[in-house]
Subunit: 227 residues, 2 copies
């Protein structure tokens, strides 16, 4: 059982995104401080994370982009791929289906569900949509362990319960209500309205975000001009 912090995984996922962009531009090697600037963390953090991945760099040359991508793939991706289910084909559900269409071979949305009779039994961005009554059977049949909830708030907990009962172990919830889930089920609540309210607070001219600090203080220096 591999146990890691959520923040670490978030950073690794972000590195991968950035490295893909660099690779697409033909960049073959990268220094810790370059990636640090892009990911907005310290260079030491990047080096620590790569050390944990057993991805070595060399002084002057830096890290090999292809080797890093391979190390990240080996650590982050399920070898056999992962299938996800999406519940609720509103505008948000459609946006997510569109975004994922054919983009990540190892992480595909294999089934979508809705209660609207006009939406079921057809394809959305080549993903089949089924009535929610079929959710337990389809999720089990496809071995889905990952759920995306894009239904209205009132229906979110019921959708989550159904998914969990059918074997789902991770949920991304976009409904504006925190989900209850048993131990062992990872839930990420993405509340767009709450994010907007947070940003609105800091967008006011008399408000400022406290800069994140921490870490060792610089050593006090003898004054260079002292004679």
């Amino acid at each position: 059982m591999i146990v890691v912090s959520e923040k670490t995984i978030a950073r690794l996922v972000q590195y991968r995104r950035l490295l893909h962009q660099l690779a697409a531009r033909g960049v073959a090697s990268v220094h810790s401080h370059e990636l640090a600037a892009l990911a907005q963390v310290s260079a030491a953090q990047v080096r620590r994370d790569f050390m944990a991945l057993i991805a070595a760099g060399t002084p002057m040359h830096g890290y090999d982009v292809a080797a890093l991508l391979e190390a990240l793939r080996a650590f982050l991706d399920a070898p056999e791929g992962q299938a996800a289910a999406l519940v609720g084909i509103g505008n948000l559900g459609k946006a997510i289906l569109t975004y994922f269409a054919g983009r990540r071979p190892k992480l595909v949305i294999a089934a979508a569900f809705d209660i609207d009779p006009a939406k079921v039994h057809r394809l959305f961005r080549s993903v089949p949509c089924y009535p929610v009554e079929e959710l337990p059977a389809r999720v089990r049949e496809l071995g889905i362990r990952l759920g995306i909830i894009t239904v209205p708030a009132a229906a979110a907990q019921a959708a989550a319960d159904q998914l969990i009962r059918a074997g789902v172990r991770g949920l991304v919830n976009f409904a504006p209500v925190p989900l209850q889930a048993p131990e062992g089920v990872f839930v990420e609540d993405i509340d767009i309205a709450m994010s907007l309210e947070k940003v609105a607070f800091f967008a006011r001219s008399d408000r400022a975000a406290e800069p994140a600090r921490g870490g060792r203080r610089p050593a006090p220096r003898l004054h260079a001009a002292a004679v």
Copy 2:
């Protein structure tokens, strides 16, 4: 100038959401441990946050829900209200417009922008949509300080730059690319694909999220059964 941490604001926004739900159910008072269970923080954290808001409770009775909501409103909301601009009317943009339609009187999306000639000069969920060429003038004219970016990745930074030049101080970015912004502009990147990859990692049966700890350890206890 009020300086607070981002996490604190996120908690206060969440408390408000939960208190609204309680108020709607007719609940008049609440204890710190009740709200703590809903918000998934410690009761001590809730009490500390309310102390900072100068919102007092009484032993046995707890905190008055209406008084808390008023204190949160006074702290979080701009007295004169805030207007936001949304750039990019795809599925995600429409989802956000739908969600906000008439919901928060103090935080309204006042203008939307798109490059598609078929979408401009009409209303989406009663929000007027203008061509992006008009963005600088409209944002200035409406005094907008808050921007929501729901354009494709390739167009995100340009949209951000335009908004910032026109006076926007806070951005919520849904494009899958981190935005560069000058000091004083608060940026929240919400990367749905990265969130999904993170959850996918923890949804695998051999992976577990490290439980967040910290805080004072329980005092060692003398064994009660010792004679």
